[in-house]
């Protein structure tokens, strides 16, 4: 089945470092702005289905040996709102079980309103203005 492009939010609605829960074609999706780039994950943790969007955006606490800690990759992970499993926002890959567990990731991008009004994009629930930038998701 070919993918459809959905216009889901104005770029201004999701400033860097924030996230927004959106519904696209019956699916709940957590949309993240990571330093100006947009990423979209299914809003359902693969463990017990908790909301990722309701979780905290965090970095990693890592240690090469007991007692030597460092914080890294600040803001690159979302921690599930229930049991705290961490997922890479860029990929949906799980940090505690990277081989087997992954949150569903969708392609997200930015389009000018001028490009969108020409179609064939799905923007029926969202008014599009020519001069604005929009976040689009393909699914």
């Amino acid at each position: 089945m070919s993918k459809t492009r959905h216009v889901v939010a104005r770029v201004d609605d999701v400033p860097p470092g924030t996230r927004k829960k959106i519904a696209v074609a019956g699916r709940d999706i957590a949309l993240f702005n990571l330093g100006g780039a947009f990423f979209a994950l299914g809003d359902k943790c693969p463990h017990e289905s908790g909301s990722l969007c309701a979780g905290k955006v965090v970095g990693l606490a890592e240690a090469d040996e007991p007692g030597r800690y460092r914080l890294s990759r600040d803001g690159e992970f979302v921690k599930c709102s229930w049991h705290g499993w961490e997922f890479g926002i860029r990929t949906g890959q799980s940090w505690c079980d990277p081989a087997n567990t992954r949150a569903r990731a969708y392609e997200a991008g930015v389009e000018r309103g001028a490009a969108l009004v020409k179609g064939p994009y799905v923007a029926d629930t969202f008014p599009v203005a020519v001069e604005q930038d929009y976040i689009v998701i393909d699914l």
Binding site: H47, E48, S49, G50, S51, A54, G55, K56, S81, W82, H83, G84
Partner: protein, 373 residues
């Protein structure tokens, strides 16, 4: 090992809601929107006391958790009510997010706040227990009859506890008696027996939800460095608790007493039965009041709740361990709204057991134990 268990088809199961299966949730934590909600039920003398002196636990920082734990207010990050207030404090939000969404037929309230059972001022503890019990009725049970209250008592002064139990006797809005397992002495000791005698005479189960503030170290050799270590003492605490109650002779004395262990895990229970039986065969002259195998007392007197579910890689291992515990002794629980909440659909998906056993675990055992329609 039951071959039948492992041969069950692994086709995806639908969750309780889709299947119209109700669950009885044996662990729901109601929270007060503000301390005054509960303290308002105290007699005036103790309201003044609470305002002037406050609670006294066996730790610094009265009326707090022993440390911050995993998440603010130990809660799911999505359980903060949109109307404000603490997770678990808004009935309408609890109904929408949990009771209705997860098809909860009945929910057993487990109020943890302000710990009447651990107050050092025993008279205040007894008054507070009464206030927590009245608050459960007024704020929760009267407003949603799916919810059942637990009689909170001050176990360190058993005659106060018995008075509170007798005051609530015959009130069907209460389903059980709640004690903190972290008591000042092991709960099998005779000091506590008047509580068991009252429970037994009235046919009320005891619910022992992990926790309590007794001021002791959580491990036998001191305080661990990490919360993950302390979290696991929920299991070692339950092992000690069962051992104490069985070996001290509680069930030889009160053969009708029923005990529910809440949030302490399940899968470790078979090995405790095996080891106690083994030791008892060699050491029974020390405790000749035990007339039956420890494993028989354990099976007949203890019910265990599912959350936080043991999660082996192979679901068949879980089914096997649950079978060794006994499907008639395991009851579903979520721990809503706490951070280690278990979603009913997830538990149903993990339990690769026959449909009859599944129904027992989800609701049948609790319905029978608590005499619910």
């Amino acid at each position: 090992m039951s071959a039948q268990t492992l041969e069950l088809p692994r086709a995806p199961r639908v969750g309780p809601k889709e299947a119209k299966l109700g669950v009885i949730d044996c662990d729901i934590h109601p929270q007060a929107a503000s301390p005054a909600d509960v303290l308002g039920f105290l007699p005036e003398r103790w309201r003044d006391y609470a305002k002037t002196y406050g609670g006294l636990y066996r730790q610094a920082l009265a009326d707090t958790l022993s440390h911050p734990r995993m998440a603010p207010d130990v809660a799911r990050a999505d359980a903060w009510p949109p109307t404000g207030g603490l997770p678990g404090s808004d009935l309408a939000f609890m109904q929408k997010q949990h009771l209705d969404a997860n098809n909860v037929e009945y929910g057993m309230l487990m109020p943890l706040n302000r710990g009447p059972g651990n107050q050092r001022n025993l008279e205040y503890g007894a008054a507070l227990a009464g206030a927590v019990n009245d608050w459960q009725l007024a704020h929760w049970v009267e407003r949603d009859p799916r919810l059942k209250a637990s009689i909170v008592v001050t176990q360190e002064h058993p005659s106060f506890a018995v008075a509170e139990i007798e005051k609530r006797a015959g009130d069907g809005r209460f389903s059980q008696i709640m004690l903190p397992p972290k008591s000042l002495e092991p709960l099998g000791r005779r000091k506590y027996w008047p509580i068991y005698e009252a429970a037994s005479a009235l046919g009320l189960p005891l619910a022992l939800h992990v926790g309590g503030v007794n001021g002791y170290s959580p491990t036998a050799s001191g305080r661990p460095s990490y919360y993950i270590e302390e979290q696991h003492t929920n299991v070692t605490g339950m092992l000690s608790l069962i051992t104490s109650m069985v070996v001290e002779g509680v069930f030889a004395q009160f053969p009708g007493l029923k005990v529910v262990l809440v949030e302490g895990g399940v899968a470790w229970q078979p090995s405790l039965k095996w080891r106690l039986d083994k030791h008892w065969k060699r050491l029974k002259s020390e405790a000749p009041h035990l007339k039956r195998l420890p494993s028989e007392y354990i099976h007949d007197h203890f019910w265990m709740t599912t959350q936080p579910l043991d999660e082996p890689d192979n679901d068949g291992d879980l089914a096997e361990m649950f079978g060794l515990v006994g499907f008639d002794r395991i009851m579903f629980s979520t721990d809503y709204p706490h951070w280690d909440f278990d979603e009913p659909k997830f538990v149903v998906g993990k339990l690769r057991i026959g449909d009859d056993d599944l129904k027992r675990v989800l609701s049948g055992n609790a319905r029978e134990l608590y005499g619910l329609p």
